[in-house]
């Protein structure tokens, strides 16, 4: 097998974010679960929520896509696989990820449903509450997997959100096989506490079967995975099943456990919290770029913290500032 030519190849939902400011009263009135992601299954439901939202801004998003966007901004070489429709927002998604130098070979799907949209409501405390209409994204078929692209990536990175729709879930199993056969690492993010709740058994099975090399989670997600309120117990139980576990803890920083050895990083100081959208995605991006550069786990954590701090100080889920320079300033 030849050497990998890409740092990371990610597979994820191809989503355009629709971001609007709101207040806690709106979240409560709509019966939304603040800070979480919920799926909207009907076009009517999606349109009804959109009609109630204030003026918005559109930006390419999608969890794993945001992560490779961050890695590309750090100078990494990436590929992405995800399903868009043949429409204006699909073009926007393709433009943005391609403009970053990410290889995106998945062909657009014609006809309905439209490109996926995630309506993100940002409250004054910077927290985002996400409402996703999966659209075309839920139809990523196994045949759309670009085997060559997956084999070229040193790390295959998958998002837990892909387990929600049937077609991509099936494709993921196949993608993991391709990567493992090629001798690549497989990284996975649990995505969201409620997502873990929906697919706990399958996620635990992936861990038990040793199909994952690297696992990203936040506090909510890892507690949901292990069905405990005891954070330390959840970390211990999970770390036993994966070679490298990373848990982000918002303003408390992040920890990593590699083969039983634990280290931690504090959160970076910020001037102003604007919008937490993309914080976890960019943390993962910084961390994976560090891994790809052969850095220590401690330095990888620091890179993740720098990238997360940048993205939460502006609206939108991808870096706007020069994160490469920010990382250099932090690590030298």
């Amino acid at each position: 097998m030849s050497q990998p030519t890409l740092d990371v190849v990610a597979i994820g939902n191809a989503i355009v974010d629709v971001i609007a400011q709101t207040d806690d009263a709106f979240i409560a009135r709509e019966g939304l679960s603040k800070g979480a992601m919920q799926l909207l299954f009907s076009t009517e439901e999606a349109e009804a929520l959109y009609a109630k939202m204030g003026q918005a801004v559109e930006a390419s998003g999608g969890s794993a896509a945001n992560t490779v966007a961050g890695i590309a901004a750090l100078g990494g070489r990436c590929g992405f696989i995800g399903q868009v429709a043949d429409d204006q927002l699909g073009e926007v998604f393709r433009h943005d990820i391609t403009a970053l130098g990410v290889e995106f070979t998945t062909e657009a799907r014609s006809g309905e449903p439209a490109t996926a949209r995630c309506m993100i409501l940002v409250t004054p405390d910077g927290e985002r509450t996400m409402n996703t209409f999966l659209g075309a994204s839920q139809h990523l078929p196994a045949k759309a997997l670009d085997r060559d692209l997956i084999e070229r990536g040193a790390i295959l990175y998958l998002e837990g959100y892909l387990w929600d729709p049937e077609e991509p879930k099936a494709a993921m199993d196949h993608a993991i096989d391709i990567a493992r056969t090629a001798g690549r690492k497989v990284a996975f993010t649990l995505s969201d506490g409620f997502c873990v709740d929906r697919h706990r058994d399958e996620f635990l099975e992936l861990l038990d079967d040793g199909r994952l090399d690297i696992l990203f989670a936040n506090e909510d997600e890892i507690k949901s995975l292990q069905q405990t309120q005891d954070f330390e117990a959840a970390v211990e139980a999970t770390a036993a099943k994966v070679p490298l576990l990373i848990v982000t803890r918002s303003e408390k920083g992040a920890i990593a456990v590699e083969d039983g050895t634990r280290c931690a990083v504090e959160a970076e100081a910020i001037d102003r919290l604007v919008d937490t959208t993309g914080a976890g995605d960019q943390f993962a991006g910084g961390f994976l770029m560090g891994l790809s550069q052969g850095r220590s786990v401690e330095d990888c954590l620091a890179m993740g913290a720098v990238c997360a701090a940048e993205v939460i100080q502006h609206y939108g889920p991808r870096p706007e500032g020069d994160i490469k320079q920010l990382v250099s300033a932090r690590l030298g």
Copy 2:
């Protein structure tokens, strides 16, 4: 004739902005005129530039639409007339302006061309260079004018950009007639120095015929209108032809001349210049809201300055902060 029930009704191009960061080298390489707006006439030209641009963010724009968005954010009652296509970006435009409480009754146009897009390149100094593909916007027909809506507005506000395409230009003449017959004021913005260059004779004719009550311009535009490099001479010559002239001067503030009496305001202090897109539009919005509230011209200038200062401290052409509160803090 009944009393107006709306503060401002605006007619303008209905455009979605596509905003990306760039550098001066890119502007030079593409042969663009920094700080100006140029029209892209072919889809190929628009697509070629889009392909070269970096990752972007989409936000509803359009000069006059931004102005009414600002007035609505200040608590004003507004209407808007402009042409979108029956597509995703048209829906985005309609959603955003409607979400602000602006009455928008113009029906979407089916088929090609698509909803207008303006590719805005923001350089590190915060200056924006605009590249507009007018799309559906250039097909606003006179029959799309909502006579009742125009008659209900105390002020009809028009953008000079509408003189670029043939169909809206003809519609504007008709709109001015409707407003004047109903006893309403007509306000106009010169939009852009190059736009003035393209339509100087027609703009001067509007002034000479006494069809405008209020004129907004910046330094470039008024000098282009009077074909002089002498700012004071341009102000004098123009003020003689319109009851109320407002000229914005970027970091030097703004002046107004009403029936021969001149007053001025300094620019508001800002923390950080991010993106000048929308500065003139929001200045006009603040000023017109003040007029509608029966404030002095000096206070109207101050309101314009506050609104312009807010919008240049973030990406995007419409207010994000609570400008109503900012105005209160400034004027009491």
